[in-house]
């Protein structure tokens, strides 16, 4: 059906803006954390950063195509604890991925668009894997969240 149009209602658009905010925060967190995490974690952090950049780009493109102005990143974000060493840096990344997971789960709950739900599930799944790795670095048990994205 060429020329068809996709509609996302305001609730779904709001969910996309919120998850974009979470992705902005995650990227800010990785930029800060990479300066402090253990050397053997840097490669993983860079891979994770690239994944978040890709997600951010996809969300911004989608919102723009919907005629929305994608929410901007904040100049800085409040961190649960000061980042001063490898452990606190990894802890920040756990927080960032946990928040992103919650935002992606919320995309699923606030939209009925099948493709958006598929994309959201994929993002939730990948963020859960990242979260598990950083939880393992921090030493949180269990490393794998039992319900990724649950508020």
């Amino acid at each position: 059906m060429s020329g068809g149009a996709a509609r996302l209602d305001d609730v779904a658009v709001g969910a996309l803006q919120d998850v974009l905010g979470a992705e902005h925060a995650a990227l800010w967190s990785y930029a800060l954390a990479v300066a402090f995490i253990a050397p053997d974690q840097v490669a993983a952090a860079r891979t994770d950063t690239a994944a978040h950049r890709e997600l951010r780009a996809q969300i911004e493109i989608t919102l723009t195509q919907l005629g929305q102005r994608p929410v901007s990143a904040q100049p800085a974000y409040a961190t649960p604890q000061p980042v001063t060493d490898a452990a606190s840096a990894a802890g920040l990344l756990v927080t960032a991925e946990t928040d992103a997971a919650a935002a992606w789960r919320s995309v699923l709950e606030r939209s009925t668009d099948r493709a958006l739900r598929r994309a959201g599930l994929k993002a939730l799944t990948e963020t859960a894997a990242r979260c598990a790795r950083w939880r393992a670095v921090v030493g949180t048990r269990p490393a794998v969240p039992v319900f990724p994205g649950r508020p």
Partner: protein, 177 residues
């Protein structure tokens, strides 16, 4: 983590639902049918009364995975560190699914399927191979697929739980390789 999150909705949103051209770069947005989707605000709208609650099967799978995990550790105790967290997670998944089934007025099965019971003596003359890590991984991977399949069509109040469980199973499936 808190951000100011100022510029969100309310700033310049059009009154009507936004529309895009069909060409798009990512697979996020899709063409919606002109008619209302099957999903409505009411959770039971897409199930006929004679269909079983799909979460019952998910609960069963969670219980089966937990029993299989227990059997694997019984066969090879060195696996405990890797598999015990999975067993605990799948046990929690089963409880959450049961609660949701009950919330919708259904009756969950609460016993593990007998074929997966750890420690049950095999029938005389039958050799039962020990449960391997690979078998546990396959089961969890299958559980991920079973949960993920439902995500597109679940009502809003259930999709989060099922998606979370799918993501958890996926993570274990990748870790237990």
């Amino acid at each position: 983590m808190k951000d100011a999150t100022a510029a969100r909705r309310g700033a310049g949103l059009p009154a009507a639902a936004p529309v895009v051209g069909r060409r798009r770069i990512l697979q996020m947005a899709v063409v919606l049918p002109a008619a209302a989707t099957v999903l409505g605000g009411c959770s039971g709208v897409d199930r006929r009364a004679d269909r079983p609650d799909p979460l019952i099967a998910l609960a069963d799978a969670a219980r089966a995975d937990a029993a299989l995990a227990a059997a694997a550790v019984a066969a090879a105790p060195a696996l405990a560190a890797r598999i015990d967290p999975l067993r605990e997670a799948r046990t929690e998944h089963a409880a959450a699914f049961d609660a949701e089934v009950v919330r919708m007025g259904g009756v969950p099965r609460t016993a593990a399927p007998p074929s997966a019971t750890a420690g049950a003596p095999p029938p005389t003359g039958t050799a039962v191979p020990p449960v391997t890590l690979a078998r546990v991984r396959e089961a969890v991977a299958a559980s991920q697929v079973g949960a993920a399949e439902l995500v597109e069509n679940l009502p809003a109040e259930r999709v989060g739980l099922v998606a979370s469980v799918a993501a958890c199973c996926a993570t274990y499936a990748a870790l237990l390789t």
